[in-house]
Amino acid sequence: MASSEPANGRGPANGSPLIRAEGIWKIFGRNAERVIGTPDANLSRAELRAKTGCVAAVRDVSFDVFPGEVFVVMGLSGSGKSTLVRTLIRLIEPTAGRVEIDGRDVTAADRDELLQLRRHTSSMVFQHFGLLAHRTVLDNVAFGLEVQGVSKSERHARAASVLSLVGLEDAANQFPSELSGGMQQRVGLARAFAVDPKVMLYDEPFSALDPLIRRDMQDEVIRLQHETGKTMVFITHDLPEALRLGDRIAIMRDGRIVQLGTPEDLVGSPADDYVSNFVRDIPRSHVLTLRWIMRPPAAGEEDGPRLDVTTTVRSAVPVIAASERPCCAVDGGRVVGVVDKDAVLAAIAGEDA
């Protein structure tokens, strides 16, 4: 089981978790509930299927998501990540486990409560957009509000303002079939924002787009997140994307979380061979911060240039290279460590190891 304690960054300081997932299991097949709690549950996927005909998609996953953070779930196809995000709002019913969003028990909610949750508390962006082909862009964006029963003029007004947020105000009267993939996903984004949710779920939203557009969309999401401060659960199979967007990342494999931590945790201290294989091609200096390569300051070393402890190694290189003295890593005004050229070189050299 992976740790759900954040290594750094946002944590209990930001308050209690907005989403709590405890012991989520999802097994497909007849008599799925009977598999949980038995030793069968720990069989590999192929063995379990051969023995019981069931497929275990999510095994005993627990995590917390704190307000305002971007929580990324990453894994290859078949790892269970898309299933997991759907269990959070019960688009797929979990076989076992408990989900709590905004203090309310989702797994035990009745139909009306679930409806309220989906309408007001959460919204979702989908990989294949999920737009309504027979409606204009404006009507698509307003769909969430329409389902809530908001009047036509009001929801059109709100949809129009959200459209300008994503820069598509000119396309309001077009149909989805007339838009490119990137624009369609922007409509999907706008639709998700229009209902002003507390939690936003993203299911591999950019996998169907080409790489250049993907980068623009990632920037868009980062920008929107900064502007609105929404809590996001983001699913992806693309590691660079996860590292760019995520405050904390959970790597899934075969239904379980293999490691949960900040980008540096993953890159700096991968939990096992699987994770280290994953992060192998990531240039460590782009992700690791000074915290990872600093050493306790010796006497008299506290007069070098000061850099925040969260500065990435890469950004720190120019400063360290230009300075004679070792740099001081500063956290909240206090010097917590020292970084010299050797440490930097070792970190960069270690990238190709």
Partner: protein
């Protein structure tokens, strides 16, 4: 997702078997074994009398008598009262509509109404089609009959959609409902109408209501099935997205599923219309206002040319209604309409103007007593003469067509193909046939279809219909084989070539709605051997469905696969044979299955032109008032249909479990 049945592993494993263990070879071996038994064992071992439920027909007759007596009571029970109520309402509705179209509006105004409505809502082409069809009714001299049939059909189609579309929505959203409904729908389409005409008469009396009910039994299933298909065809992503945003079931249905299933809903309207119109003649047998069915039924004996003209009118009506509803649906598609305020106002004025013109035309018609004027100027006499001369040619045995082509061909088919197969099936000892058929079913489709086959054929024996059923079975096999070959070939051609597709569509429509007896009787003259006309009737009725399904399947093969093959330098023919047809296998199998059902649906008609056996027995049941005999024969047909349907449906792949 269900645990895999025994069938699935067998099927998967067989895919990789060497050819001498493949399914067709195994089936052929079983047939060979049966032939050996036939040649060596006694020929008179038909189904043993001891295993027949003889008194079933008596029970059924008694039930009918009891129902008739109950219905005749002066104070019938609540069920009858409700049914009488429904019957009166429908009667009144149809009659009111007929009077509106025929008497109150007079023919100029009716024509104007039809044309202008089509113009306003469907566009110019639709209006022209309407105008042409009304002109045809008038020219054929069958205006009154056509209006009777039109009124009846409008009510029948409307009620069928009213019942069928909601059921289809339910079946589309719930697997359980789907599984419950499918066998009932199959039964409704296989059980011959002749079998239930008398009970319908007992409950609904004779008249338009009875005709509507009889029609609905046949035209509700396509409405249900295709609507369900449409609902299921809405992309799962879109449904999921709407659910994620908190849409209720009802919001999901109205805002997402129905709008996106529009094309399929239109197809279901189209098929409902065609199926309804194919019942005009049979429904006319129990209707006091038989419409176009009357000249067909009577004409067969006294005036075949008139029967053909009436049949043509039925086809014209079917095609016109179908094309016009399609045009209206295209035009009113909300995704295509961009009406601004001014456009909307203009549209409303247009509607008002149309209604106004109709009123003016009606007034003019009454003042000028247009009704009597038209009856003097029809082309019926001229048309009758032309058709009659063709019939006279067909009926002469000295023509080249008959002497050198059709007569020898028919004799050959019967003597060397149908008769031997028939004798083989009828005279092989019953247990050999039963076991053999079960074994073939197992080899082809797995355990469950095999059990069904065994049960169904045993039931046929118990009903006492073994001999007749084997007779019918041999003809159904041959008819289906020809239908599938013809249908697949034409379907593939239609998928590859636009003009073939455009030509086959109206042909399909005609063959589906033209009353079979009308065009088959000439075949009896030309192929005067008992089995052949029935065979022709079955093939002509069934192959359009196969063509349509195969065409759709081959067209829908994923373009990437085709592209990839092309990129490897495959020729068009190679792509067709190696990529498209294998990938369209599901559609082709569905075509086989549906072709079979259609062949079974016309067993009675085939029986009336020489195929005898079960079809004849069903007709006898109705026309001699022997309810029991008719029902028993129908049950045998149904049992055969169920067995063959399960075998030809093949194994469905187990449901997907979405993971990751």
């Amino acid at each position: 997702m269900a645990a895999p049945t025994v069938a699935a592993p067998v099927a998967l494993a067989l895919e990789h078997r060497p050819w001498w263990r493949s399914r067709p070879t195994l089936a052929a071996l079983i047939v060979a074994a049966m032939v050996i038994c036939y040649l060596t064992l006694s020929r008179t071992l038909t189904w043993p009398n001891a295993l027949v439920w003889h008194s079933l027909t008596h029970y059924l007759d008694n039930i009918q008598n009891w129902l008739a007596a109950e219905s005749d009571k002066s104070s019938p029970n609540i069920v009858y009262r409700v049914i009488h109520g429904i019957s009166s309402v429908v009667d009144a509705l149809v009659r009111w509509l007929y009077h509106l179209l025929s008497r109150w509006l007079t023919w100029p105004a009716t024509t104007a109404l039809g044309t202008l409505v089509a113009l306003r809502f469907g566009g110019r082409r639709a209006a022209l089609i309407m105008l042409a069809s009304f002109a045809a009714f008038g020219a054929l001299g069958l205006w009154d009959d056509s209006m009777q049939t039109l009124a009846l059909m409008l009510v029948a189609v409307a009620l069928s959609l009213l019942v069928g579309v909601p059921l289809g929505i339910l079946a589309g959203r719930s697997n359980r409902v789907d599984r419950l409904l499918t066998p009932m729908l199959d039964a409704a389409q296989i059980i011959p109408a002749f079998a239930y005409l008398m009970p319908v008469v007992i409950f609904f009396s004779v008249g338009p209501a009875a005709a509507v009910i009889t029609t609905m039994v046949y035209s509700v299933p396509p409405a249900v099935r295709i609507t369900a298909l449409g609902i299921r065809g809405v992309p799962a992503n879109t449904v999921e997205a709407a659910t994620a945003f908190g849409a209720t079931s009802r919001q999901l249905l109205w805002k997402v599923q129905l709008p996106l299933a529009r094309r399929m809903l239109l197809l279901s309207v189209n098929q409902t219309i065609l199926f309804a119109l194919s019942m005009v003649v049979i429904a006319g047998l129990i209707n006091t206002e038989g419409g176009l069915g009357a000249p067909v039924t009577n004409g067969l004996n006294s005036n075949p040319a008139l029967a053909i003209l009436a049949g043509a009118a039925i086809v014209v009506m079917a095609i016109a209604l179908d094309r016009v509803t399609e045009a209206i649906a295209e035009r009113t598609d909300p995704a295509r309409r961009h009406l601004d305020e001014q456009g909307r106002r203009r549209a409303r004025l247009a509607t008002a103007a149309a209604l106004g013109s109709v009123a003016v035309a009606a007034a003019a018609g009454h003042l000028l007593s247009a009704g009597s004027a038209y009856t003097r100027f029809t082309a019926q006499a001229w048309l009758l003469a032309r058709v009659q001369s063709v019939l006279d040619y067909v009926q002469k045995p000295t023509t080249f067509l008959f002497k050198d082509i059709t007569n020898p061909l028919g004799n050959f088919i019967v003597a060397h193909l149908l008769q031997p197969l028939d004798t083989f099936l009828v005279e092989t000892p019953w247990f050999v046939t039963l076991v053999g058929l079960t074994a073939i079913a197992f080899v082809l489709s797995g355990l469950r279809p095999a059990i069904t086959t065994a049960a169904m054929f045993a039931l046929i024996g118990v009903l006492g219909e073994w001999r007749d059923a084997m007779d019918t079975f041999s003809q159904v096999l041959v008819a289906t084989a020809i239908t599938v070959v013809l249908g697949v070939v034409l379907g593939v051609l239609a998928a590859e070539s636009e003009w073939v597709s455009r030509v086959t569509r109206p042909i399909n429509d005609v063959l589906q709605t033209l009353p079979q007896l009308v065009y088959v009787i000439p075949f009896v003259y030309v192929f005067p051997i008992s089995y052949v006309p029935g065979l022709i009737a079955s093939v002509l009725y069934a192959f359009p469905v196969v063509v349509r399904l195969v065409e759709r399947g081959v067209r829908d093969v994923a373009p990437p696969a085709v592209e990839a093959a092309g990129a490897f330098g495959a020729t068009r023919l190679q792509i067709l044979v190696k990529v498209k047809i294998p990938l369209a296998r599901d559609a082709i199998m569905l075509g086989v299955n549906q072709g079979l059902i259609m062949v079974l649906a016309v067993v009675v008609i085939a029986g009336l032109v020489g195929s005898g056996a079960l079809g004849y027995a069903v007709a006898q049941g109705l026309q001699r008032g022997q309810f029991g005999i008719g029902v028993v024969a129908s049950l045998a047909i149904l049992a055969m249909g169920i067995a063959l349907d399960r075998v030809t449906r093949g194994n469905r792949s187990a449901g997907r479990g979405g993971v990751g």
